[in-house]
Symmetry: C2
Subunit: 327 residues, 2 copies
């Protein structure tokens, strides 16, 4: 959610009882200040006495200069620092140690992973407070091979329990867009969930000009409307991503032409040409990537972040009650 | 589950209160007779007065000669006839009509699909009694593009409700291997679930000689241990599957070499050579396909089919109670 999830969205999610995240950026301070200005207006938060700031921040570790962000983390002590996409698994340990140093161990470390084996490895080295289990239905960047949360979450939970990490919670990510997905994640063994795509239809999201949001709201049949591929990272030049990652985005003209055998070079030319116009075209007929998860078909209206959090939470409880009463 | 799920497995699943299926074969009668011989020993089933036989049968419609199976269906009236992988979507209508004709409309028609749009189409034409929503975590053959059941099930449910098909149940398939998966599927809007991979570790399954079962039991990190690809269908000759399908199988030597750029022709030669030996090698180091879902990491012991059904059902109820009590 880099560039999309700023201080306003994060603040509103936290005010509604969730935990809002600011998407990875090295220009973090202005976003935290924006979040603070919103949160401080709320009486309960203005009086809050926790040692951490009630907002999370996320980083793509492979492209983030740790030296640039550590001072901000030290000053603000965000409740959670979420790390994703390390070039090497061992980098998580360095990051975790440095962050704990500057935050006096008060900021939690969350690591987003898609493999049981990697989870068991980092639990012993980086010692994260939470594992974010990212399934293959997730929008935007993720792992180019892996299971959906339906299989990933319970297998990760069992293996963590067996290895003495029964106290480390799992938060499930990927394909969850409403209360039903939340209820499902909880039964699978997650303690919480991450939602990204649903917030692309929030009022507070920073969304590119043009028809990006329209492409989200119009999405139907999410598993057909979106696809995982590494072509989306190559449309503006060589991919900067480490091996093992790709991204889920809307099936676009670029993707269709890629399937038809158009060369990456030609796709780049065509994308550059298209993006040279007054507005980028983000639709199904467009060339620019629209990152979205397989749950996009469940996202049909714009709401405030607060409404989304409250609606999803209430609906999850109702569904669990309903299903329990039926069986 | 063609070739794997015979009459003995199907009978035991039904005796345990599930609905057992015989996997697609044109030599159906002996399997139904085997199932009948087992079921008839159970007092409650011996006295059962339903018009249908309490077993389901499944067909891959693109390779099944409908004329060969219709007489058997007419004679036995299986409770459910499950259709998958039609060459053209409209073929489902022909199949459904002919089956209803020979069974006096008494056998239910289930259609296995992975797209919301296709579901809405067939509901109007073939008029299935149930939609099997197959997600991308499913083992064996499935759709080469699509969502996991975490997104697919609720979106399908919403759209079916909006189109007047609120009374047609969804059964979820793909990645479910224990009670947690069942509980999750129910909260997502499914009325039931399908399990395949879990039954590869049942006592009653017909599993190839050699280390096929070992490859299932040893599987860890299901999303890494298995992968969706169409290469598995090409190892013994050209794929016979229609466009739009591929299969999830264990990451094998064949698959790794495919990634390394070994030609399909060479892979075929090597597979033929390997399979010419006394036993096929089905392990991670093998060349023959081991079909398995992303939930394979949750399958760790051999049990009777009856034990599996009872354990999964009881565990699903417990989990729903536990999660409900926690929130």
């Amino acid at each position: 959610m880099e560039g999309f999830a700023g201080g306003a969205l994060a603040a509103e999610v936290s005010l509604a009882g969730g935990l809002g995240f600011i998407g990875g950026t090295t220009d973090l301070a202005p976003e935290l200040e924006l979040a603070a200005s919103i949160i401080s207006k709320d009486v309960s938060f203005a009086q809050h006495t926790e040692k951490t700031f009630p907002i999370g921040v996320g980083f793509l570790t492979f492209i983030t200069d740790i030296e640039k962000v550590l001072p901000v983390l030290g000053k603000w002590k965000p409740k959670v620092v979420w790390l994703f996409a390390a070039k090497e698994v061992r980098d998580y340990q360095t990051w975790a140690e440095r962050i704990r140093e500057v935050t006096n161990g008060e900021s939690q470390i969350w690591l987003q992973l898609g493999s049981v084996a990697v989870a068991l490895e980092v639990l012993k080295t980086a010692r994260p407070d939470v594992i974010v289990a990212q399934g293959s239905d997730a929008g935007g960047h993720g792992f180019d091979r892996g299971a959906g949360i339906i299989s990933l979450t319970p297998e990760m939970r069992d293996n963590m329990n067996d290895s003495g990490f029964e106290n480390v919670p799992i938060v499930a990510a990927g394909g969850i867009a409403d209360g039903r997905g939340v209820a499902a994640a909880l039964t699978l063994g997650a303690e919480g969930v991450v939602m990204g795509t649903r917030f692309l239809a929030s009022e507070e999201i920073r969304i590119p000009d043009g028809n990006y949001r329209q492409a989200i709201l119009q999405g139907k049949d999410g598993g057909q409307y979106t696809v995982r591929s590494n072509i989306f990272d190559k449309l503006r030049g060589p991919s900067i991503w480490p091996t093992g990652y790709n991204g889920r985005a809307v099936v676009s003209t670029s993707y269709r032409e890629f399937l038809e055998g158009v060369s990456v070079e030609d796709l780049r030319k065509r994308t550059k040409e298209a993006e040279g116009g007054s507005k980028k075209d983000y639709g199904v007929q467009g060339r620019s990537a629209v990152w979205a998860g397989a749950g996009v078909g469940l996202v049909n209206k714009v709401q405030s972040a607060r409404e989304i959090v409250i609606e999803v939470r209430e609906s999850a409880v109702k569904i669990l009650e309903l299903v329990r009463s039926r069986i």
